[in-house]
């Protein structure tokens, strides 16, 4: 479904992606992991067309995505930091995003689920970080798209919202969607991910299921297995 070929990206002198190859097939939850600054977000942003790679190709459903924009109608993206225009109200923002995408949306179900009904008329500037993240999640999940990309989705969420988010992710997976998640919270990965993509120094260092990873590193605990992967590289 998604194909990255020989992807290179440099920011000035800093090489972030160094000839990365990755293919992701349709359906399932993929956790993109790696230490800070390993290129997770850059990889995702390349796919979204926000970062333009120096070299390489990215295809989505066998069509190149570089310098295109219409393919984004078939993907939902949850950005890492939720920061919205402070003078718009929540409902206006939702209407605006709906307005920008010619697609069916089911925002009311999600608003009920996350208990946002009381906040709809509030200005976005007055909301707390967690509530903003909930709005962010509503905006991401209200459209029916084949690909969902979540960048640190658990940021600032309370336990109840976190449970709802996990349910939501499982529900989307059951519909056969492809979900990419980046996170640093290993228990979350352990719970939801089908496959792990581990990025280190701008390249894929490991790709496979959680079981494979545990077997390869001879470690029963995912957190330690990942730590093992990182330290092996540094050793």
């Amino acid at each position: 479904m998604i194909e990255f070929k020989n992807l290179h990206k440099r920011f000035g002198k800093l090489t972030v992606l160094d000839g990365l190859d990755l293919s992701i097939k349709e359906g399932g939850i993929f956790a993109i992991l790696g230490p800070n600054g390993s290129g997770k977000t850059t990889l995702i942003k390349c796919l979204l067309g926000m970062v333009i790679p120096q070299k390489g190709a990215i295809t989505y459903n066998n069509k190149s995505v570089l310098r295109k924009w219409d393919y984004r109608n078939d993907l939902n993206y949850l950005p890492q930091i939720a920061n919205f225009p402070p003078n718009l109200t929540v409902i206006e923002l939702i209407q605006m995003v709906k307005n920008l995408r010619p697609k069916e949306s089911n925002e009311q179900v999600l608003i009920d689920l996350f208990g946002l009904n009381d906040s709809l008329q509030k200005k976005l500037g007055t909301l707390s970080g967690g509530t903003k993240q909930k709005v962010n999640i509503v905006l991401t999940f209200m459209f029916d798209s084949h690909l969902i990309i979540l960048d640190e989705p658990t940021n600032g969420l309370d336990p109840i919202a976190l449970i709802h988010l996990k349910e939501l992710i499982q529900k989307e997976k059951a519909k056969g969607k492809t979900i990419l998640i980046t996170t640093h919270i290993m228990s979350f990965v352990n719970e939801v991910a089908d496959e792990i993509v581990f990025i280190l120094d701008g390249n894929i260092y490991f790709k496979g299921s959680i079981e494979d990873l545990k077997k390869q590193t001879k470690n029963d605990n995912l957190e330690h297995a990942i730590a093992n992967l990182i330290s092996k590289q540094y050793a």
């Binding site: 920011f11 942003k45 979204l48 067309g49 926000m50 970062v51 333009i52 310098r67 924009w69 219409d70 393919y71 984004r72 109608n73 993907l75 993206y77 950005p79 930091i81 939720a82 920061n83 919205f84 225009p85 402070p86 003078n87 718009l88 206006e92 605006m96 995003v97 307005n99 920008l100 995408r101 905006l139």
Partner: protein, 260 residues
Amino acid sequence: MLKILKYSFYDLMRSRWSYVYFIFYLLLGFVLLFLNNDVSKAVITLMNIIIVLTPLIGTIFGVMYYYNSKEFTELLLAQPINRSKIFMGQYLGISLSLTLSLVLGLGIPFMAYGLFKSAAIFDFSLLLVVGSFLNFIFVALSYNIALSTENKIKGFGYAILMWLFFAVIYDGIFLISLVMFDEYPLDKFSLIATMFNPIDLSRILILLKLDISALLGYTGAIFRKFFGTNIGMLLSMSILVMWVILPVIRMNLKLRKKDF
């Protein structure tokens, strides 16, 4: 693009600063007209204020809006919309809301004064047109600076420097070079030098219209001598248009390669 424009515009129209800006012009208009009683003097005073203030406010609003809405712009970039449409929408949203503050803020006191019947209506509308141009020009310039500068503080600094350069430093250099080279024919030089500064250009545009250009300085006199009032007006207007178009083109070129 229109949708983005609409929301940027609403967002700004609801911010406190748009009101402060609007009320400032409203007060200024009332005070100058009703305490002065001489319309042409009021227009000149207004000109002096508008020519310095609109570029400053345009510059500050431009950089501020860009950096403040950065994360939101990233959300928009992930939507199925063309990049340049997002930024053009934002750019027009800021410029239009500032222009609205200016036009309404000064227009209301002038209407209350009953200027629709007087001959000064042309001078006054020219003032508003030039002010609007300056808004569009300086928001475009500051957006260019913000797009090219990742660091917020640096971007802000460069933008203020840019304004300072056009509003103060440029004139200083210009005057010094006139004094230094006063043994040479400087007509063409001063004419061309004026075109490279939108603030100077706007000033001359208004002075030409007010028919006092010969009294009010060297460049004004040259403009009048060379072009006569109508052609001079047309030329300066088209150069102002270029001052909007060129930064907008540069913005679009920059956007093609920019990473977010």
